[in-house]
Symmetry: C2
């Protein structure tokens, strides 16, 4: 057998990787690619020292490793040879470039559905610019208090807190949450019915994947929340858009009954209407009669600026049909990724399993910190402070927009929540206007982005994450771009 | 209309909830349940003050709230009446007890599959007792260093870190990981190919739900890792158990090709064999020819006690067919819930979407802390320290078990990993013995718990989370229980 020429090897002392590691990788690549063929003999160590201008140790290290891994064989007294790697078609290997997309990719229907779903409108930048909806004022979050609560949580039982925890969530947090949800939202549940999730998005995703089979009918508010729509689309259900009127979701009388009904009773996203009590009771009755589940997404009801909110749909009788989803992301901070799902007793075991299989549970230290935050009242205090701040920002937004945008856009009252949907007073395309405004630095997703059917043209303005000065200047930019 | 008698109302000053809140809830319950019928008039406020022995304010507050929410109507000058709630069948409502399981629950096939899967063997206690497998020594985790890295991460750009982040993961962590995986494991990838997941379990779950459709064929090592099995079972695939020999997974020649092949090449779980280079190349070739995906679960290859490990399967050519899953949970601490999935370029967009829809991304602060840990070398230092610690514990375990359990149980060499599978030297039922030992305080799951087909009887011993003294005393307990 001939001796291999290794003049294609290039070692570079300026690189981060050590010379031995560079040599090892380049030799391995040459063997795998078939450029160094099975059976070919390598130059002697002494020759390699000369050829490559490196120390003997460097070479011995690289060759030893390749021998250990089966790429090279060492025959005592006769040298080192490229091993037989039992490649069925070594010739083809050189053709498959590293990291290329497979030429023919088997694509499952689920893969296609996942790739085509999206949980939010498309923004031109990841930067949070006015008026991106659903953004809390993170610069007002009491991070020091949060860090103190975290230290306190860790001080007591740090080793236990590092071990794997209950997949359904830290019991202490679920207990604190059960009390809070009863007091603040009229939700009736035991701690055992709560699953702590990675934000409300995971709650919706667990519902979609655990309750439905492909092709099941699911009713969804239209226009409606994209995170829910994406979760159900990825689960490949038959998604049926349901109209909203000023009492809430309109129960169709002629439709075949669905397996799941998704709704936002406290404040419809993005229209802002609150579902009336009569409509709530009718919906519960429908679900009972037709044997379907209601998913109540209570995504920002903490921020109510006028009277007290209606208690949650879940708290009405018949809540053995309701799954209640909520989030800490908006009330505390989005990157915390903590939310919750309250399920009927009959589904406790299914959702514990779904969460366990999905990711084995949320990070314990964050859960313990959140529990202390709720127990010690920091949570309520922060909600109160933000409610006041957001009310002021709402007032600035409404006052300025009515001054600058009147005639062009009409806003309803904003009794609650983090954003305001304004209606265009013409039949212009809201998608086109949204693109024009994005080009001028203002993010206002069009209502059509949230709709499966046609909807009246409108734009969604988030006002909570921006100071009065930012709100005013961004509204001026809107008026200027629209030549108002 | 008659006046309602409210003698069933009981207000208790010792309860946490305020009197007005108690009154509000009890009245609401009476109305919803139909015990206070539509149209019935409530006693006057003055009468209620007398009947209930509370202040007028308490009563006014509760009634106002119920009027606001639509449960009561107030007619000026004539009193307060129970509203018509438009209940289609109010009589039935009293029968549905709160929090009852629905009488007839529509159960999807996915719900049943989820409820029946499990990611780990059943333990009698949640406490970590010897020899529970796959448990790192959390009492040796440098929590102070971790906390300092966290403070450092927060100091630089805390507001940005509180906002929602990239669903695929913090770029800084993905960059650090790409370098680490290349150096330590021979994985070839760009940061863009990495999705940060909530532990390896989420990586497996995303693979199962995003790559497969129900009834797709999936090959899985048998015996094999339960977390993977559960993820695929919940996705309702056709799971085909594949035999392991001492070279790794045995590629069947007569089978129809699968969509996904799940394997643990670095160290087969729970058998401990390393897949040979020849078998790896054959597997890659099979995947290329038959157009299927390989999932490489590299769950504990950091802990190798003898020679250097074989580099990852993903690093061989043909890795455009390989999805590589790993975890920080074992190397740092389990409750952190951080792991990663490296996907071929052709799947980057699908898995970014899958993660976004699943939970919108992992907690940013933990990701930033982990990035600093890797960048600054704390990670490598900790791995080195644990490798040394675990090697010592392995030696104690093997020495003591060969002294106390010889003849009854045989252990192969333990070159790597966190647990040792011992083989019973009789044909006894490993499940029965495991139950007996659990009753004596020792957790050793049986090999049969990890098998879909029959397997030789064995027990899986985790040795990493327990001190030499604990290991010795637990092995003595095993010997005593088994009367050796």
């Amino acid at each position: 057998m001939p001796v291999a020429t290794l003049n294609m090897i290039r070692l570079d002392r300026r690189l981060r990787a050590s010379l031995q590691s560079q040599l090892y990788r380049q030799l391995r690549e040459l063997i795998i690619s078939g450029k160094l063929q099975t059976g070919i003999r390598l130059p002697s160590t002494r020759d390699l020292v000369g050829q490559l201008d490196v120390s003997r140790n460097t070479i011995v290290y690289a060759l030893d490793r390749l021998i250990g891994e089966g790429y090279l064989n060492s025959r005592i007294g006769s040298g080192i040879y490229v091993a037989d790697l039992q490649q069925p078609t070594p010739g083809n290997r050189t053709q498959s470039a590293p990291r290329s997309v497979p030429e023919q990719v088997q694509t499952s229907r689920r893969t296609v559905a996942t790739a085509n779903a999206s949980i939010s409108p498309t923004y031109s930048t990841s930067r949070v610019r006015p008026f991106r909806p659903c953004q809390p004022a993170v610069d007002h979050f009491p991070l020091r208090t949060w860090n103190r609560a975290r230290s306190y949580a860790l001080r007591s039982q740090s080793n236990d807190m590092l071990r794997e925890g209950d997949a359904a969530g830290l019991l202490r947090l679920r207990r604190a949450l059960a009390v809070y949800l009863q007091d603040a939202r009229g939700v009736r549940c035991d701690a055992e019915q709560i699953v702590i999730t990675a934000g409300a998005q995971q709650a919706l995703s667990l519902v979609a994947t655990s309750l439905t089979d492909p092709h099941d009918r699911v009713w969804i508010e239209d226009p409606g929340y994209l995170g829910a729509r994406a979760a159900f689309l990825a689960a490949r259900v038959n998604l049926i858009p349901i109209r909203i009127d000023n009492e809430g979701i309109c129960i169709p009388s002629t439709r075949k009954s669905p397996r799941v009904i998704y709704c936002t009773p406290s404040r419809q996203f993005p229209l802002g209407t609150t579902m009336t009590l009569a409509r709530r009771l009718a919906l519960l009755e429908f679900a009972r009669k037709n044997d379907c589940w209601i998913v109540e997404d209570d995504y920002d009801s903490e921020f109510r600026y006028v009277e007290r909110p209606l208690p949650a749909l879940q708290g009405l009788t018949g809540h053995d049909r309701v799954l209640y989803a909520g989030s800490f992301s908006k009330v505390l901070f989005p990157s915390l990724r903590l939310g919750y799902l309250v399920v009927p007793e009959g589904l406790v075991e299914v959702f514990r399993k779904a969460k366990e299989i999905g990711d084995a549970g949320c990070a314990t230290i964050d859960q313990a910190t959140a529990a202390i935050f709720v127990e010690e009242g920091f949570f309520s205090t922060h909600v109160r402070r933000m409610r006041k701040l957001y009310r002021e920002r709402r007032d600035v937004f409404l006052e300025t927009s009515s001054r600058l945008l009147s005639g062009w856009m009409k806003f309803p009252d904003i009794d609650a929540g983090m954003d305001a949907t304004g209606w265009l007073q013409s039949n212009a395309s809201d998608a086109r206007i949204s693109r024009e405004l994005a080009a001028s630095g203002v993010d206002v997703p069009p209502v059509s982005a949230y709709s499966l059917k046609t909807s009246p043209p409108g734009l969604v303005f988030g006002f909570t994450a921006f100071s009065p000065a930012q709100l005013r200047s961004a509204l001026k930019a809107v008026a200027a771009t629209m030549k108002l």
